[in-house]
Symmetry: C2
Subunit: 149 residues, 2 copies
């Protein structure tokens, strides 16, 4: 395929969508972006629809959706006559996840603040931050597990 007016190189598609060149190729490898036709010199030739799709992916990723969810949302958006209940469910699940993460981080913030406030600025041997880390019994809330943050 020879380059047409209106085609984008991968660099142009990257700039137009705000997705990095390497990430565009990565999305293709993950099946989120269809493999475009190539030029005679084997370069990818993107159309506007690819750029639109990249912007969709970017926005969804910025909102924290996992690539798997992005893939589902993309395949749903390709079938406009279906019910949007599945779309809604994914968005609500993401909202709930965001809420959980915030609660988690608020609790960490409180405990970190308590720890930091006890530090009197002396030696490590006297430092209550180290002590707090050593002694789990000092902490008010239970920790659900290693922080995914």
């Amino acid at each position: 395929m020879s380059p047409q007016p209106g085609d984008f190189t991968i660099g142009e598609a990257a700039r137009a969508s705000g997705v990095k060149v390497t990430t565009v190729r990565f999305y293709e490898s993950r099946g989120l972006l269809p493999a475009p036709p190539r030029s005679e010199g084997n370069r990818r030739l993107y159309a506007q629809s690819h750029v639109d799709r990249l912007r969709f992916i970017r926005h969804a990723r910025e909102l924290g959706f996992a690539l798997e969810d992005v893939a589902t949302l993309l395949s749903l958006s390709d079938e406009p006559d279906q019910s949007c209940a599945a779309v809604d469910a994914i968005a609500r699940a993401q909202r709930a996840e965001v809420t959980r993460r915030i609660a988690r981080l608020e609790a960490l913030g409180v405990e970190l603040d308590r720890m930091i406030a006890t530090c009197a600025g002396g030696t490590v041997g006297e430092c209550r931050v180290i002590e707090s880390l050593s002694d789990h019994a000092h902490c008010a809330a239970d920790h659900p597990g290693p922080a995914p943050m």
Copy 2:
């Protein structure tokens, strides 16, 4: 080395510290936990000090410190005569990071709520959630980048 009373197998150390067996070995491979002596049958034999160290690591991880920071905190705690300024700095940086993450997630939550509220429950073609994802211009705040969440 033959097992002594007071020694822990890796499984016992794991239960006593709340760190999984595989994760204990992983921490050893990362240099966070010193390699313990072995039994005649090549099993790791931990002392109470190892269990204490594991509990320290676990608590620091629960507070979201990266393993590299945990390693620094551990090496600082091994030198009790030094100033605790470095400890304080790491804790404050972690606190700041938690604050940033919360702010980020609050913004995502607001945008997700707006998106979800516009969904009227019709078809995908009419769904404003998909539309919001497609059209970046509809969103109020700038996104700093893909969400690390």
